[in-house]
Symmetry: C2
Subunit: 226 residues, 2 copies
Protein backbone atom coordinates (compact mmCIF):
# COMPACT_ATOMS: atom_id res chain seq x y z
CA UNK A 1 0.00 0.00 0.00
CA UNK A 2 2.69 2.47 1.06
CA UNK A 3 4.91 1.40 -1.83
CA UNK A 4 2.08 2.04 -4.29
CA UNK A 5 1.49 5.38 -2.64
CA UNK A 6 5.13 6.49 -2.96
CA UNK A 7 5.32 5.33 -6.56
CA UNK A 8 2.18 7.28 -7.45
CA UNK A 9 3.37 10.32 -5.54
CA UNK A 10 6.66 10.26 -7.49
CA UNK A 11 4.68 9.98 -10.75
CA UNK A 12 2.55 12.94 -9.73
CA UNK A 13 5.64 15.00 -8.94
CA UNK A 14 7.06 14.10 -12.36
CA UNK A 15 3.87 15.35 -13.98
CA UNK A 16 4.08 18.55 -11.93
CA UNK A 17 7.70 18.99 -13.00
CA UNK A 18 6.68 18.72 -16.66
CA UNK A 19 3.93 21.26 -16.10
CA UNK A 20 6.40 23.57 -14.41
CA UNK A 21 8.72 23.30 -17.41
CA UNK A 22 5.80 24.16 -19.67
CA UNK A 23 5.24 27.37 -17.72
CA UNK A 24 8.96 28.10 -18.18
CA UNK A 25 8.66 27.53 -21.92
CA UNK A 26 5.66 29.87 -22.00
CA UNK A 27 7.68 32.58 -20.25
CA UNK A 28 10.64 32.01 -22.58
CA UNK A 29 8.41 32.52 -25.63
CA UNK A 30 6.58 35.46 -24.10
CA UNK A 31 9.89 37.16 -23.41
CA UNK A 32 11.02 36.51 -27.00
CA UNK A 33 7.70 37.90 -28.28
CA UNK A 34 8.12 40.95 -26.07
CA UNK A 35 11.72 41.64 -27.08
CA UNK A 36 11.19 41.20 -30.82
CA UNK A 37 7.53 42.31 -31.09
CA UNK A 38 6.80 38.90 -32.58
CA UNK A 39 3.04 38.47 -32.91
CA UNK A 40 3.15 34.81 -34.00
CA UNK A 41 5.12 33.77 -30.90
CA UNK A 42 2.80 35.79 -28.65
CA UNK A 43 -0.22 34.09 -30.23
CA UNK A 44 1.38 30.69 -29.68
CA UNK A 45 1.78 31.33 -25.94
CA UNK A 46 -1.82 32.50 -25.77
CA UNK A 47 -3.18 29.41 -27.51
CA UNK A 48 -0.86 27.03 -25.60
CA UNK A 49 -2.14 28.36 -22.29
CA UNK A 50 -5.23 26.19 -22.54
CA UNK A 51 -2.96 23.13 -22.58
CA UNK A 52 -1.33 24.18 -19.29
CA UNK A 53 -4.78 24.67 -17.77
CA UNK A 54 -5.96 21.27 -19.00
CA UNK A 55 -2.86 19.52 -17.69
CA UNK A 56 -3.29 21.31 -14.35
CA UNK A 57 -6.77 19.83 -14.17
CA UNK A 58 -5.31 16.37 -14.88
CA UNK A 59 -2.70 16.81 -12.13
CA UNK A 60 -5.40 17.86 -9.66
CA UNK A 61 -7.49 14.83 -10.54
CA UNK A 62 -4.51 12.55 -9.94
CA UNK A 63 -3.94 14.17 -6.56
CA UNK A 64 -7.61 13.61 -5.69
CA UNK A 65 -7.27 10.00 -6.84
CA UNK A 66 -4.25 9.45 -4.61
CA UNK A 67 -5.98 11.07 -1.68
CA UNK A 68 -9.14 9.00 -2.16
CA UNK A 69 -7.57 5.61 -2.92
CA UNK A 70 -4.53 5.63 -0.68
CA UNK A 71 -6.04 7.45 2.30
CA UNK A 72 -2.62 8.69 3.40
CA UNK A 73 -2.05 9.84 6.96
CA UNK A 74 0.12 12.40 8.76
CA UNK A 75 3.06 13.57 6.66
CA UNK A 76 1.88 11.82 3.50
CA UNK A 77 -1.45 13.58 3.79
CA UNK A 78 0.30 16.93 4.03
CA UNK A 79 2.44 16.08 1.01
CA UNK A 80 -0.61 15.48 -1.13
CA UNK A 81 -2.30 18.68 -0.03
CA UNK A 82 0.93 20.43 -0.99
CA UNK A 83 0.60 19.12 -4.55
CA UNK A 84 -2.69 21.04 -4.95
CA UNK A 85 -0.82 24.18 -3.94
CA UNK A 86 1.96 23.41 -6.43
CA UNK A 87 -0.62 23.05 -9.20
CA UNK A 88 -2.01 26.47 -8.25
CA UNK A 89 1.50 28.00 -8.35
CA UNK A 90 2.23 26.54 -11.77
CA UNK A 91 -1.12 27.69 -13.15
CA UNK A 92 -0.36 31.18 -11.90
CA UNK A 93 3.10 31.10 -13.51
CA UNK A 94 1.41 30.12 -16.79
CA UNK A 95 -1.09 32.97 -16.38
CA UNK A 96 1.71 35.48 -15.78
CA UNK A 97 3.52 34.31 -18.94
CA UNK A 98 0.19 34.73 -20.72
CA UNK A 99 -0.08 38.32 -19.50
CA UNK A 100 3.36 39.10 -20.91
CA UNK A 101 2.33 37.60 -24.27
CA UNK A 102 -0.85 39.67 -24.25
CA UNK A 103 1.08 42.90 -23.74
CA UNK A 104 3.33 41.97 -26.69
CA UNK A 105 0.23 41.27 -28.81
CA UNK A 106 -1.52 44.46 -27.75
CA UNK A 107 1.44 46.64 -28.71
CA UNK A 108 2.25 44.86 -31.97
CA UNK A 109 3.64 45.98 -34.43
CA UNK A 110 5.19 48.44 -31.97
CA UNK A 111 7.65 47.27 -29.31
CA UNK A 112 6.15 47.41 -25.83
CA UNK A 113 9.59 48.05 -24.34
CA UNK A 114 11.69 51.18 -24.76
CA UNK A 115 15.27 50.19 -25.76
CA UNK A 116 16.84 51.11 -22.42
CA UNK A 117 14.84 48.52 -20.47
CA UNK A 118 15.11 45.66 -23.00
CA UNK A 119 18.22 44.30 -21.30
CA UNK A 120 16.44 44.08 -17.95
CA UNK A 121 13.61 42.08 -19.46
CA UNK A 122 16.03 39.79 -21.31
CA UNK A 123 17.72 39.10 -17.97
CA UNK A 124 14.48 38.76 -16.00
CA UNK A 125 13.13 36.43 -18.68
CA UNK A 126 16.22 34.21 -18.62
CA UNK A 127 16.12 34.11 -14.84
CA UNK A 128 12.40 33.28 -14.78
CA UNK A 129 12.95 30.39 -17.22
CA UNK A 130 15.89 29.11 -15.16
CA UNK A 131 13.78 29.30 -12.00
CA UNK A 132 10.93 27.32 -13.58
CA UNK A 133 13.54 24.72 -14.57
CA UNK A 134 15.01 24.66 -11.05
CA UNK A 135 11.56 24.33 -9.50
CA UNK A 136 10.88 21.42 -11.88
CA UNK A 137 14.19 19.81 -10.90
CA UNK A 138 13.37 20.21 -7.21
CA UNK A 139 9.95 18.57 -7.75
CA UNK A 140 11.57 15.58 -9.43
CA UNK A 141 14.57 15.21 -7.12
CA UNK A 142 12.72 16.18 -3.90
CA UNK A 143 16.12 17.55 -3.01
CA UNK A 144 16.06 20.26 -0.38
CA UNK A 145 19.20 21.98 -1.69
CA UNK A 146 17.70 22.25 -5.17
CA UNK A 147 14.65 23.83 -3.60
CA UNK A 148 16.61 26.27 -1.45
CA UNK A 149 18.73 27.42 -4.38
CA UNK A 150 15.60 29.09 -5.79
CA UNK A 151 15.87 31.71 -3.07
CA UNK A 152 19.23 32.89 -4.46
CA UNK A 153 17.71 33.25 -7.94
CA UNK A 154 14.83 35.18 -6.44
CA UNK A 155 17.20 37.66 -4.82
CA UNK A 156 18.72 38.22 -8.28
CA UNK A 157 15.23 38.76 -9.70
CA UNK A 158 14.43 41.30 -6.99
CA UNK A 159 17.67 43.15 -7.72
CA UNK A 160 16.82 43.33 -11.45
CA UNK A 161 13.31 44.48 -10.63
CA UNK A 162 14.69 47.18 -8.37
CA UNK A 163 17.12 48.41 -11.02
CA UNK A 164 14.29 48.47 -13.54
CA UNK A 165 12.40 50.92 -11.34
CA UNK A 166 15.51 53.07 -11.05
CA UNK A 167 15.55 53.42 -14.85
CA UNK A 168 11.82 54.02 -14.88
CA UNK A 169 11.98 56.78 -12.28
CA UNK A 170 14.94 58.48 -13.93
CA UNK A 171 14.19 62.02 -14.99
CA UNK A 172 15.35 61.28 -18.52
CA UNK A 173 12.47 58.78 -19.08
CA UNK A 174 10.78 60.22 -22.15
CA UNK A 175 8.56 57.36 -23.30
CA UNK A 176 5.43 58.68 -21.70
CA UNK A 177 3.16 57.26 -19.06
CA UNK A 178 1.69 54.55 -21.31
CA UNK A 179 5.05 52.82 -21.72
CA UNK A 180 5.66 53.40 -18.00
CA UNK A 181 2.46 51.54 -17.12
CA UNK A 182 3.43 48.64 -19.42
CA UNK A 183 6.93 48.38 -17.97
CA UNK A 184 5.60 48.56 -14.40
CA UNK A 185 3.09 45.76 -14.93
CA UNK A 186 5.50 43.63 -16.96
CA UNK A 187 8.12 43.94 -14.23
CA UNK A 188 5.55 42.84 -11.69
CA UNK A 189 4.63 39.78 -13.81
CA UNK A 190 8.22 38.54 -13.86
CA UNK A 191 8.67 39.19 -10.17
CA UNK A 192 5.50 37.28 -9.29
CA UNK A 193 6.48 34.42 -11.61
CA UNK A 194 9.72 34.11 -9.63
CA UNK A 195 7.81 34.27 -6.32
CA UNK A 196 5.71 31.28 -7.34
CA UNK A 197 8.83 29.31 -8.34
CA UNK A 198 10.24 30.05 -4.88
CA UNK A 199 6.98 28.90 -3.31
CA UNK A 200 7.25 25.60 -5.17
CA UNK A 201 10.71 25.27 -3.65
CA UNK A 202 9.27 25.92 -0.19
CA UNK A 203 6.64 23.27 -0.79
CA UNK A 204 9.24 20.71 -1.84
CA UNK A 205 11.15 21.45 1.38
CA UNK A 206 7.91 20.90 3.25
CA UNK A 207 7.24 17.61 1.44
CA UNK A 208 10.78 16.43 2.12
CA UNK A 209 11.19 17.57 5.72
CA UNK A 210 7.72 18.19 7.15
CA UNK A 211 8.91 21.68 8.00
CA UNK A 212 6.07 24.08 7.10
CA UNK A 213 6.72 26.58 4.32
CA UNK A 214 7.39 30.18 5.23
CA UNK A 215 4.14 32.11 5.17
CA UNK A 216 5.77 35.42 4.17
CA UNK A 217 5.74 34.63 0.51
CA UNK A 218 6.31 37.83 -1.30
CA UNK A 219 9.77 39.12 -1.97
CA UNK A 220 10.61 41.39 0.94
CA UNK A 221 11.99 44.32 -1.01
CA UNK A 222 8.78 45.35 -2.80
CA UNK A 223 10.76 48.21 -4.21
CA UNK A 224 9.03 51.20 -5.64
CA UNK A 225 10.78 54.28 -6.89
CA UNK A 226 11.67 56.79 -4.21
CA UNK B 1 -19.49 10.35 11.78
CA UNK B 2 -20.98 12.31 8.86
CA UNK B 3 -22.86 14.57 11.26
CA UNK B 4 -19.64 15.38 13.09
CA UNK B 5 -17.97 16.01 9.75
CA UNK B 6 -20.63 18.46 8.58
CA UNK B 7 -20.63 20.29 11.90
CA UNK B 8 -16.85 20.67 11.79
CA UNK B 9 -16.93 21.71 8.16
CA UNK B 10 -19.48 24.43 8.99
CA UNK B 11 -17.26 25.58 11.87
CA UNK B 12 -14.28 25.73 9.53
CA UNK B 13 -16.25 27.78 7.01
CA UNK B 14 -17.26 30.16 9.79
CA UNK B 15 -13.59 30.60 10.69
CA UNK B 16 -12.76 31.22 7.02
CA UNK B 17 -15.57 33.79 6.82
CA UNK B 18 -14.09 35.64 9.81
CA UNK B 19 -10.67 35.58 8.20
CA UNK B 20 -12.15 36.89 4.97
CA UNK B 21 -13.75 39.77 6.86
CA UNK B 22 -10.38 40.53 8.45
CA UNK B 23 -8.85 40.88 4.99
CA UNK B 24 -11.72 43.25 4.11
CA UNK B 25 -11.02 45.29 7.24
CA UNK B 26 -7.33 45.44 6.27
CA UNK B 27 -8.25 46.74 2.81
CA UNK B 28 -10.67 49.27 4.32
CA UNK B 29 -7.94 50.65 6.56
CA UNK B 30 -5.31 50.56 3.82
CA UNK B 31 -7.60 52.56 1.58
CA UNK B 32 -8.22 55.09 4.35
CA UNK B 33 -4.46 55.32 4.95
CA UNK B 34 -3.89 55.83 1.24
CA UNK B 35 -6.58 58.49 0.82
CA UNK B 36 -5.61 60.51 3.89
CA UNK B 37 -1.86 59.75 4.01
CA UNK B 38 -2.43 58.44 7.52
CA UNK B 39 0.75 56.76 8.74
CA UNK B 40 -0.75 55.37 11.97
CA UNK B 41 -3.50 53.52 10.10
CA UNK B 42 -1.01 52.18 7.55
CA UNK B 43 1.21 50.91 10.39
CA UNK B 44 -1.79 49.23 12.00
CA UNK B 45 -2.55 47.27 8.82
CA UNK B 46 1.10 46.25 8.58
CA UNK B 47 1.26 45.01 12.16
CA UNK B 48 -2.18 43.33 11.98
CA UNK B 49 -1.07 41.32 8.96
CA UNK B 50 0.73 38.84 11.15
CA UNK B 51 -2.60 38.05 12.83
CA UNK B 52 -4.17 37.16 9.46
CA UNK B 53 -1.21 34.90 8.70
CA UNK B 54 -1.42 33.22 12.09
CA UNK B 55 -5.17 32.65 11.75
CA UNK B 56 -4.62 31.26 8.25
CA UNK B 57 -2.25 28.75 9.76
CA UNK B 58 -4.91 27.81 12.33
CA UNK B 59 -7.53 27.36 9.59
CA UNK B 60 -5.16 25.13 7.62
CA UNK B 61 -4.47 23.01 10.68
CA UNK B 62 -8.21 22.56 11.24
CA UNK B 63 -8.62 21.48 7.62
CA UNK B 64 -5.80 18.95 8.06
CA UNK B 65 -7.45 17.75 11.24
CA UNK B 66 -10.77 17.23 9.48
CA UNK B 67 -9.09 15.45 6.60
CA UNK B 68 -7.11 13.16 8.93
CA UNK B 69 -9.83 12.36 11.47
CA UNK B 70 -12.93 12.19 9.29
CA UNK B 71 -11.34 10.59 6.20
CA UNK B 72 -14.02 12.08 3.96
CA UNK B 73 -14.71 10.62 0.52
CA UNK B 74 -15.81 11.88 -2.88
CA UNK B 75 -17.51 15.29 -2.70
CA UNK B 76 -16.65 15.83 0.96
CA UNK B 77 -13.01 15.22 0.17
CA UNK B 78 -13.12 17.83 -2.58
CA UNK B 79 -14.82 20.30 -0.24
CA UNK B 80 -11.99 20.05 2.25
CA UNK B 81 -9.32 20.47 -0.39
CA UNK B 82 -11.22 23.58 -1.47
CA UNK B 83 -10.83 25.04 2.01
CA UNK B 84 -7.03 25.02 1.61
CA UNK B 85 -7.49 27.04 -1.56
CA UNK B 86 -9.81 29.47 0.21
CA UNK B 87 -7.18 29.99 2.91
CA UNK B 88 -4.63 30.78 0.19
CA UNK B 89 -7.04 33.29 -1.43
CA UNK B 90 -7.68 35.04 1.86
CA UNK B 91 -3.96 35.20 2.69
CA UNK B 92 -3.35 36.76 -0.70
CA UNK B 93 -6.12 39.31 -0.12
CA UNK B 94 -4.46 40.20 3.17
CA UNK B 95 -1.09 40.52 1.43
CA UNK B 96 -2.57 42.83 -1.22
CA UNK B 97 -4.09 45.05 1.49
CA UNK B 98 -0.64 45.05 3.11
CA UNK B 99 0.94 46.25 -0.16
CA UNK B 100 -1.49 49.17 -0.30
CA UNK B 101 -0.61 50.09 3.29
CA UNK B 102 3.10 49.93 2.48
CA UNK B 103 2.72 52.33 -0.43
CA UNK B 104 0.87 54.77 1.89
CA UNK B 105 3.68 54.42 4.45
CA UNK B 106 6.44 54.83 1.86
CA UNK B 107 4.95 58.08 0.52
CA UNK B 108 4.06 59.56 3.91
CA UNK B 109 3.79 62.51 4.63
CA UNK B 110 3.04 62.97 0.93
CA UNK B 111 -0.12 61.56 -0.62
CA UNK B 112 0.61 58.63 -2.93
CA UNK B 113 -2.42 59.52 -5.06
CA UNK B 114 -2.82 62.58 -7.27
CA UNK B 115 -6.19 64.23 -6.56
CA UNK B 116 -7.80 63.20 -9.87
CA UNK B 117 -7.55 59.47 -9.11
CA UNK B 118 -8.56 59.61 -5.44
CA UNK B 119 -12.22 59.02 -6.31
CA UNK B 120 -11.36 55.84 -8.21
CA UNK B 121 -9.47 54.44 -5.26
CA UNK B 122 -12.25 55.40 -2.84
CA UNK B 123 -14.66 53.46 -5.07
CA UNK B 124 -12.32 50.51 -5.65
CA UNK B 125 -11.65 50.36 -1.91
CA UNK B 126 -15.36 50.37 -1.02
CA UNK B 127 -16.02 47.69 -3.64
CA UNK B 128 -13.12 45.53 -2.42
CA UNK B 129 -14.41 45.70 1.16
CA UNK B 130 -17.94 44.84 0.01
CA UNK B 131 -16.59 41.89 -1.98
CA UNK B 132 -14.66 40.55 1.01
CA UNK B 133 -17.91 40.82 2.98
CA UNK B 134 -19.87 39.04 0.25
CA UNK B 135 -17.28 36.28 0.00
CA UNK B 136 -17.50 35.87 3.79
CA UNK B 137 -21.30 35.70 3.57
CA UNK B 138 -21.08 33.08 0.81
CA UNK B 139 -18.71 30.99 2.93
CA UNK B 140 -21.12 31.06 5.85
CA UNK B 141 -24.35 30.57 3.90
CA UNK B 142 -22.89 28.18 1.29
CA UNK B 143 -25.47 29.89 -0.90
CA UNK B 144 -24.70 29.69 -4.60
CA UNK B 145 -26.48 32.97 -5.40
CA UNK B 146 -24.39 34.82 -2.79
CA UNK B 147 -21.30 33.38 -4.44
CA UNK B 148 -22.35 34.22 -7.99
CA UNK B 149 -23.17 37.80 -7.06
CA UNK B 150 -19.44 38.38 -6.60
CA UNK B 151 -19.03 38.22 -10.37
CA UNK B 152 -21.21 41.33 -10.78
CA UNK B 153 -19.07 43.22 -8.27
CA UNK B 154 -15.97 42.10 -10.10
CA UNK B 155 -17.28 43.52 -13.37
CA UNK B 156 -17.73 46.83 -11.57
CA UNK B 157 -14.14 46.58 -10.28
CA UNK B 158 -12.84 45.92 -13.77
CA UNK B 159 -14.74 48.93 -15.10
CA UNK B 160 -13.23 51.17 -12.40
CA UNK B 161 -9.79 49.78 -13.12
CA UNK B 162 -10.23 50.44 -16.82
CA UNK B 163 -11.33 54.04 -16.21
CA UNK B 164 -8.35 54.54 -13.93
CA UNK B 165 -6.02 53.66 -16.80
CA UNK B 166 -7.87 56.10 -19.04
CA UNK B 167 -7.07 58.89 -16.58
CA UNK B 168 -3.50 57.65 -16.27
CA UNK B 169 -2.90 57.59 -20.01
CA UNK B 170 -4.45 60.99 -20.53
CA UNK B 171 -2.06 63.49 -22.02
CA UNK B 172 -2.76 65.93 -19.25
CA UNK B 173 -1.22 63.60 -16.61
CA UNK B 174 1.47 65.78 -15.08
CA UNK B 175 2.38 63.88 -11.92
CA UNK B 176 5.41 62.19 -13.37
CA UNK B 177 6.30 58.58 -13.88
CA UNK B 178 6.84 57.85 -10.17
CA UNK B 179 3.20 58.58 -9.33
CA UNK B 180 2.22 56.68 -12.49
CA UNK B 181 4.05 53.58 -11.25
CA UNK B 182 2.36 53.84 -7.84
CA UNK B 183 -1.10 54.24 -9.34
CA UNK B 184 -0.51 51.36 -11.77
CA UNK B 185 0.55 48.94 -9.04
CA UNK B 186 -2.11 50.12 -6.59
CA UNK B 187 -4.79 49.59 -9.24
CA UNK B 188 -3.48 46.11 -9.81
CA UNK B 189 -3.61 45.33 -6.06
CA UNK B 190 -7.31 46.20 -5.86
CA UNK B 191 -8.10 44.28 -9.03
CA UNK B 192 -6.31 41.16 -7.76
CA UNK B 193 -8.00 41.48 -4.36
CA UNK B 194 -11.35 41.37 -6.17
CA UNK B 195 -10.23 38.40 -8.28
CA UNK B 196 -9.49 36.39 -5.15
CA UNK B 197 -12.90 37.27 -3.67
CA UNK B 198 -14.48 35.98 -6.92
CA UNK B 199 -12.40 32.81 -6.66
CA UNK B 200 -13.74 32.23 -3.15
CA UNK B 201 -17.22 32.52 -4.66
CA UNK B 202 -16.29 29.92 -7.30
CA UNK B 203 -15.02 27.62 -4.59
CA UNK B 204 -18.24 27.95 -2.59
CA UNK B 205 -20.20 27.05 -5.76
CA UNK B 206 -17.92 24.04 -6.11
CA UNK B 207 -18.44 23.02 -2.49
CA UNK B 208 -22.20 23.41 -2.82
CA UNK B 209 -22.73 21.84 -6.23
CA UNK B 210 -19.67 19.73 -7.03
CA UNK B 211 -19.34 21.74 -10.22
CA UNK B 212 -15.62 22.53 -10.68
CA UNK B 213 -14.58 26.17 -10.52
CA UNK B 214 -13.78 28.00 -13.72
CA UNK B 215 -10.04 27.76 -14.38
CA UNK B 216 -9.87 31.10 -16.22
CA UNK B 217 -9.61 33.11 -13.08
CA UNK B 218 -8.31 36.46 -14.02
CA UNK B 219 -10.60 39.23 -15.08
CA UNK B 220 -10.94 38.99 -18.86
CA UNK B 221 -10.45 42.64 -19.71
CA UNK B 222 -6.83 43.05 -18.54
CA UNK B 223 -7.10 46.57 -19.80
CA UNK B 224 -4.00 48.57 -20.43
CA UNK B 225 -3.94 52.05 -21.92
CA UNK B 226 -3.88 52.65 -25.61
Amino acid sequence: MRTAYYAQMAELNTLLARLCELSGTAMERSTAALLSADLAVAEQVISDHEHIQRMSGVAEERAFGLLARQAPVAGDLRSIVTTFQVVADIERMGALALHVAKVARRRHPMHALPPEVEGYFADMGALAVAMAGNAAAALTSQNVDDARRLQVDDDAMDALHEHLFTVLSDRTWDHGIGAGVDVTLLGRYYERFADHAVLIGHRVVFQATGHPPDRSIESPTQFLPG
